[in-house]
Homo-oligomer: 404 residues x 2
């Protein structure tokens, strides 16, 4: 335990509740006598390298509350992925400012950054307490039962498909909605949460964990369309062909990669459009439409899951408390489910979360029916605070007179 300043930063893609975690860190850090000041780094780790700090100690509780309720990253974000040399520069800045506590709110890449930074601090011999605090709408972090941001994004996707279900019932056809999720199908699978009737949408769901087979897809769409006169399909942006290549990457004429080498899948309608074309060219369906949900699902302000927001806040507070324990070692804080439904926040080694992405449990999805299982819905329900109830008209048919 050592007295010093704390830095908090946000990395990677924003979520609807990532600022809850930020505010959890700030408020808890302000309560500690070991943390003499709380700085925010602007644009994640890049802000540390640039010495681009703001002093967060003076913000009123009221403003903090309003920031917590605002989506996306209030401290702004980065896709920078530091190596050892980058981390050395960070530690130079930490030394200059007497910063001993670092809280980094982010996903897989941010956890790995924490690991490298923590290792660098040991090599350099600078006492530094690093905590990675999970967030990602993809819900693909190991150890964690689920991740902050996912519940709200899931609620958005469930609401979207509930509306689309009614819409495509009114004016039937085939509809394809492409949902975020590079490696994991959780968010796409959440499209099924609001299904109320046997024939509710989505009728088919395709996730990255299961090979996407074009023939199988067309067979399933055809069968559904023949059965219901319509077919609503939720497709993950990350669906892969049997070679393991993202289908989106096989379509795009100029593949763009981020600094982590990941192919850019979001921010284009190409996957939806190519699947629409596939259906149009192979099945006799007049109306085929495709939408790509895009950025809306991760930063929509008006429909946040209160469970998600509460957990995100708590996680920030716990991260600070944990870092002040005598026996502290740099770590990530995982959300573990206990009972039905409660959670525990548990420290986990920095190497344990980001080794690889976590996919959906095979018991959550049935590839024969291209549909999630009840077990998945049981898993998902507690994470979402408001599931839309869409009422169908149920009235007796009038006896025909002319067309008896």
């Amino acid at each position: 335990m050592i007295k010093g300043k704390a830095v908090v930063a946000q990395g990677g893609g924003p979520t609807a509740v990532i600022n809850e975690t930020l505010v959890g860190v700030i408020t808890q850090a302000k309560r500690s006598s070991y943390i003499i000041d709380v700085y925010g780094s602007i644009h994640g780790v890049r802000g540390i390298e640039n010495e681009d700090f703001v002093d967060l100690s003076m913000i009123s509780d009221q403003q903090l509350q309003r920031i917590a309720e605002t989506p996306a990253s209030a401290l702004l974000s980065t896709r920078d992925k530091p190596d050892f040399d980058y981390c050395k520069k960070i530690i130079d800045v930490f030394k200059a400012h007497d910063i001993r506590y670092f809280y980094y709110i982010g996903g897989n890449d941010s956890e790995d950054t924490c690991r490298i930074l923590s290792e660098a601090s040991v090599v350099i011999g600078y006492e530094l307490y690093v905590v990675h605090i999970p967030k990602t709408i993809d819900n693909d972090l190991l150890v964690n039962d689920h991740t902050p941001g996912f519940g709200s994004a899931a609620q958005f996707v469930a609401n979207a498909f509930a509306g689309i279900d009614m819409d495509i019932r009114a004016l039937p056809g085939v509809y394809i909605g492409v949902v975020m999720g590079r490696d994991a199908g959780f968010l796409t699978a959440a499209s099924a949460l609001a299904r109320q009737y046997e024939d509710s949408a989505p009728h088919l769901i395709y996730i990255p964990e299961v090979t996407f087979d074009t023939d199988m897809f067309l067979t399933q769409v055809k069968a559904c369309y023949e059965k219901y006169g319509r077919c609503v399909i939720a497709v993950s942006e990350g669906i892969r062909n049997k070679e393991g290549t993202p289908v989106a990457a096989t379509i795009l004429d100029d593949v763009e990669r981020d600094s982590h080498g990941n192919v850019q899948l979001s921010g284009t309608g190409a996957l939806a459009d190519s699947l629409v074309k596939l259906v149009k060219n192979n099945l006799s369906v007049l109306k085929v439409r495709g939408d790509t949900f895009g950025y809306l699902q991760r930063s929509y302000p008006a429909n946040v899951s209160s469970v998600d927001a509460d957990e995100a806040r708590k996680l920030g507070e716990i991260a600070v408390l944990q870092s002040l324990r005598d026996d502290f070692e740099s770590c990530s804080i995982a959300i573990i489910r206990v009972g039905n439904y409660s959670v525990e926040y548990r420290p986990t080694p920095l190497t344990s979360v980001a080794k690889k992405t976590k996919g959906m449990d095979p018991l959550y999805y049935n590839s024969d029916t291209a549909m999630v299982t009840e077990k998945f819905l049981e898993y998902l329900r507690p994470l979402v605070s408001e599931i839309p109830q869409c009422e169908r008209l149920d009235a007796p048919a009038v006896t025909k007179i002319l067309r008896k």
Copy 2:
């Protein structure tokens, strides 16, 4: 005035509040001694031709309330556009069932259907009371100050851009969001409603009423990007080139037309993708993303404008009351703004609404800045019940030590 049954139906694209109007019609019709029964026609006018009616008299008030709060068309919809012969068949069915009152909830095309049907009833000599009841998220009906469905869709779009503003601030780049609106820019313009700061998104807005010029677009995007380090753009799906052709139609390799001869603009990401490519190829911006909001904006259940819902309900009730007046002539019921803010529901001849679409008042938009005016925002604000408040972090910068 004549005793008889009533039929209510819904035509065209669904909205978030079209079932409020339906429930308004049903509840008011049930109160009248002249209307001996209320039937719903399934799939709009097509259901009448097929004698596909349900009896709406028996639905409980509770279920009606739940239906009212459910988006999209509970009676299902149609894109059928009846001609005189089609209308003769409709009147045959009306005769067989002793139907004297017809309420058709829809947009431009539905109003024109009402006109043809009303004229056919006169030619045939069948006493029929026809009321067109407006709805459209496009807000493009003449005579009306605004139309039911628009306020809720506007609220969705405003929320979406508020979240995207925060998102693109956190991870800067150029973002293009394509919003519905074939002929009118109202919904795209609503993207500006939640702007709170001088540099809030969207920074540029392009509407169908003003010629879309590629060079001007690139110049404006470049200037914005240089000024703010980011640029968020709201583009109507209906933007047109100087020949008056929708830009989307010049991109699509297979142009699809509906039964009214309109080019299909929604349900594809092609316009957003081609604008993204345009920016990438002409400006030095690393991150350029495009989303097409698609069906989400017209049927999202979780964020309905309560003003919009109330007016939609009232409009349905007024339509029935109007049809029961001694001096009634078949008409549409328009929403007229009085004061700031209240509305009046006024009968207007069936020919007055659908002659052509209503575009945005030139005073609502400044093409030099590609931005809406304060006058437009004044017009829009009362129609939306919840404008998101997004809080930015406002904290003092820490003095640099190493990089002074």
